[in-house]
Amino acid sequence: MTQAVRLAGVAKTYGPVRAVDGIDLSIGRGETVALLGPNGAGKSTTINMLLGLAEPGEGVIEVFGRSPHEAVQAGKVGAMLQESGFAANARVIEIIELARALYKHPLPTAEVLATAELTEVARRRVDKLSGGQTQRIRFAFALAGNPELLLLDEPTVAMDVESRQSFWAAMRRFTATGRTVLFATHYLAEADDYADRVVVMAHGKVIADGSGSEIKKMAGGRTMSFRLNGTGDGLADLPGVTAVEVRGDRILLRCDDSDAAVQALIHSGRAYRDLEITGAGLEAAFLTLTSANGKE
């Protein structure tokens, strides 16, 4: 079976800016993938190219084995973009009915409204709704055609914490039906929590690709810190430790195996105090990855 998405050697230049600088990426059917990176990393450009809204300067893009434009025309792709919106004076339900009418095999209206949690505001005018609700209309519009691939550019950007959670719950219901989802985000927790796979982008390149925990491991796993009476010599040689940093009176040990490092620290008989071990979290992982890339 063909991949849902395939990019090979894709690059896109806007004037002097190389927005996307040679990407190779394949996404299998049914995967939920986060495209993670800071602003200007090339996420939106990548999504626009996958929708046929921008042409790649170099390389090949396929969506379900055809060109992005053909895939959109065939109704296989639904998308939620930041710059998309709705003209005034239309009701939510009218927008959804219109979206459904544009596709051959739409989802039932009630299901679209329920999934996007819009049932209660179905009769309201779109221009009278909050940012979070508008964002859910975008989601409903993207869902209505029953697409096999959903592309979401920063989907939760205008939402408060509560709407964010209900949005992702709705998304889970959708992906449970075997659809493929690619979402761009710079919310690190979101990528970690909701994606099977995280693709990290920086400066137009893919700099890491793996599960959330793999990304964390790649960036050094955990950090152990403590105060020490005496010299820090030899700490770098402890098992599980990858780097040593001194910050004021605290010593920070970056660990790829913090369990082994703790054992070794205890057995070394050093007089340490105030021991703390913190998970790197995707945020730290992400910073490490992007800054490492910047030094090249």
Binding site: L51, G75, F86, E97, L98, L102
Partner: protein, 240 residues
């Protein structure tokens, strides 16, 4: 197609300014110049009938330019055209829907003015002529749908509405819709003859005078129609 057309029509009808410009103004003008002032016959037709079709066309052109065409600028800035670009809707379909919406939405103005003529001034036309007036007015408004779409795809928000209004008033006055060209100085009457507003009006003026709507002037209207629809298609492609 029908779902989208219905959506477009409902959405525009909810806009109060639209009803004002396209129904209120022409009806007001018609009553002002036929009830308040007394006028002599023009080109073999009673002024009441002549001005009735002038104002009906004025309303239909207003719909095309300010109700359907210029608001496209707003659709663009709000991201609606972007949203549609993510769907299988083909661009040709989109333009067809805009044209169809302009025709449907011009009906309130057309019918209101024709009713005023019939009820207030007892304008006497045979049934065939009454029925032929609606398509004649639609055909006359068609180039302005093209011009409106071109404006909507060229200018931004308020400036699009401003440009559309300027084109609307200038061409309506110079084309003899506000007052008949017989009242114009010779040079302005000459200008009128090449304008799409005058040639669009000619279709209906000929109809109520009992003539075939099509004369040599229809060719000039056809040329404007092709030119403005072409302009619309070009601006549309540039923007998408």
């Amino acid at each position: 197609m029908m779902t989208y057309l219905k959506y477009e029509v409902l959405r525009v009808l909810r806009n109060g300014a639209f009803t004002g410009y396209t129904v209120g103004f022409p009806v007001g003008f018609y009553l002002l110049f036929t009830v308040v002032f007394d006028q002599s016959p023009v080109g073999g037709s009673a002024f009441d009938a002549y001005y009735m079709v002038s104002m009906a066309l004025y309303g239909a052109i207003g719909t095309a330019l300010t109700g359907v065409g210029a608001p496209i600028a707003m659709e663009r800035s709000k991201g609606w055209t972007r949203q549609l670009a993510l769907t299988p809707l083909r661009p040709g379909r989109y333009l067809l829907i805009k044209i169809a919406a302009a025709s449907v939405l011009s009906l309130p103005a057309i019918l209101a003015i024709l009713l005023c003529g019939k009820l207030i001034h007892r304008v006497d036309l045979d049934l065939g002529t009454w029925l032929a007036l609606v398509p004649a007015l639609w055909v006359g408004a068609l180039p302005f749908v093209g011009l409106g779409i071109a404006i909507g795809y060229t200018f931004r928000d308020e400036s699009a509405q401003g440009v559309a209004l300027a084109a609307y008033f200038l061409m309506s006055v110079a084309g003899g819709l506000w007052m008949p060209t017989v009242a114009f100085p010779a040079w302005l009457a000459k200008v009128s003859e090449v304008l799409p507003t005058y040639r669009a009006g000619e279709l209906s003026w000929r109809l109520i005078a009992g003539e075939s709507p099509f004369s040599g002037g229809a060719l000039i209207l056809a040329a404007w129609t092709v030119a403005f629809l072409g302009l619309a298609a070009w601006r549309f492609r540039r923007a998408s």
